[in-house]
Amino acid sequence: MLEYLVKRLLGIIPVIFAISVVVFAFVHLLPGDPARLVAGMDASLEDVAAVRKSLGLEGPLWQQYLHFACNALTGDFGISLKTRRPVITEIGERLMPTVWLTVFAMIWATIFGLLIGVLSAVKRGRWQDYGGMIVAVSGISFPSFWLGLLLIDLFSVRLGWLPTGGYGTWAHFVMPSFTLGLGVAAVMARFTRSAFVEIAREDYVRTARAKGVPEKFVIWKHTLRNALVPVITMTGLQFGFLLGGSIVVETVFSWPGLGRLLVDSVSYRDYPVIQAEILLFSIEFILINLMVDVLYAFANPEIRYK
């Protein structure tokens, strides 16, 4: 197990290096001179030169990359072009709202997704199954931004129960986390159902039934427990996708998180912030994937020795 862990940890180093190169190259991929773009069309040559210096765009490419990587390692991503504050401060302030939003969305989505999936699998071919799967396929197809607007319309504008957006009390969390979690709940429901149905065909489940184990035990102990292994993997992967989904949901609910910061900085062409965010998001996804793989290897020895 330790050997596997070390191997995987070493394996992510080249990936992170590759991503850092891509993120670094990002500024050079922009059409035109990034410094000119940032400084504005009618900026003087001295201003453009100053901006170029502040973006770390002087000297040969390898030197620029080294400069960028060393700074990134110490958490220095430069200054936001929009607010003129350090990028790391901007990101630091927005980190926790996004983390909490994702965590709450994940919790409810997992609980409901599992319940619907198990119910559908147990009542296979009956109305509970059809109902559950209709909800699931709809949930996958539902545009989260429209769901958000519908909820705001009903609960904020008409009923006045919940705030339309912003961040603060628990009431602010209700609609955004519901909106964000719906797609995940739907994926979880479908996935749990098929995993459950597959395990229910196994011989040991039939044996348990044949020797007279009560149906409740057959479902919860023999089937669900084993069906959970692939479901756990799925949950980990969904976590990464929730972070992506938060980009849209945060925009709908004016949530002061990383997702909205990214959208704002793309619109504003705030390149230092974009670079830092893409790097941060990427490393986050890689770590989440790594965690999922390790958990999976822990549950399934076959993978470890491959």
């Binding site: 991929l29 709809s138 429209w146 607007l149 008409r158």
Partner: protein
């Protein structure tokens, strides 16, 4: 049902019917997918003939009739500029379907080519391509798309490239899988023995084997791509305002929530129903193609 899991594969192998006929016979039984397919066909016709069907011009404002609810004259009401929402949705279907088809075609083309090359040559090329795919797959599509938009700039044309990028790794994996299994087939060995060029082997002998799965994923990815493109337009990075793109219409209408809900309601329904139809069609195609994967 439990006996049906392994049986069909044997039936197909020994059956004299053509694979296509067999596929169609199974697909016909998927009623939901058939309805979804029919709906999408109708939507395609609507998109093509939008200029003739739409009762109003999608861009002409009418300041005498702003933010009206649904009436006999305006079936889906009017927006803040008095433009007919129904007509705009019809024109929006052109954009959404075009973005969906083009982006997935582009992503599929690149992905399948990479996958076949990767599977056929193996070795360093294979590990290099697959590593890149792994990294791309680890990202949520919308983040990749925003990264591409950040470079190319906002706009619906760039959304096509942005959304295409995240279809590439999936198609690459699919094509690689089927290539790996077909590569060992006797007819491929025979082709190589008589000196057929690598390029021809890949095009004529390996690519067709990947196609069935590619078609299924094609329809599933279009739904996801349309949804992602609409999301990008909604957050302001895709189609820009006067465009009747569905996501952009929702973004336009969000200021009038509680005042004129029709402005957001109808484009929302349009996105939902279209994406749902593509997903249901994809599910049906998948079940018809490979009964082992069936969820029921």
């Amino acid at each position: 049902m439990s006996t049906a899991t392994s049986a069909p594969a044997i039936v197909v192998a020994s059956d004299m019917r053509t694979p296509l006929g067999e596929f169609w016979r199974r697909f016909r039984r998927q009623k939901v997918a058939l309805v979804a397919g029919a709906f999408l066909l109708a939507l395609l016709l609507v998109a093509i003939f939008a200029p003739w069907i739409a009762p109003y011009d999608p861009a002409t404002p009418d300041y005498m009739a702003i933010l009206q609810g649904p009436t006999a004259a305006h079936w889906a009401g009017t927006d803040a500029y008095g433009r007919d929402v129904f007509s705009r949705i019809l024109f929006g279907a052109r954009i959404s379907l075009a973005v969906g088809f083009l982006s997935v075609s582009l992503g599929g083309l690149v992905g399948v080519s990479l996958g076949v090359i990767s599977g056929y040559y193996g070795g360093l090329i294979d590990s290099l391509i697959m590593r890149v795919c792994d990294v791309l797959l680890a990202f949520p599509g919308i983040l990749l798309a925003i990264g591409v938009i950040a470079i190319l700039g906002p706009g619906i044309d760039n959304v096509i490239y942005a959304v295409a990028v995240f279809s590439v790794p999936i198609f690459a994996r699919l094509a690689r899988g089927s290539t790996l299994s077909l590569k060992r087939a006797v007819y491929v060995d025979a082709a190589r023995a008589i000196g057929v060029k690598d390029r021809v082997i890949m095009m004529r002998h390996l690519l067709p084997g990947a196609l069935p799965n590619v078609i299924v994923y094609f329809s599933m990815r279009i739904g996801t791509s349309i949804l992602t493109a609409a999301s990008l337009s909604f957050i302001g990075l895709g189609a820009q305002p006067p465009s009747p793109e569905w996501g952009a219409m929702l973004a336009d209408g969000r200021s009038y929530i509680g005042v004129a809900d029709n402005v957001t309601l109808f484009p929302g329904i349009a996105i939902f129903v279209t994406v749902l139809a593509f997903n249901l069609l994809g599910d049906g195609l998948r079940d018809a193609l490979d009964p082992k994967l069936r969820m029921a």
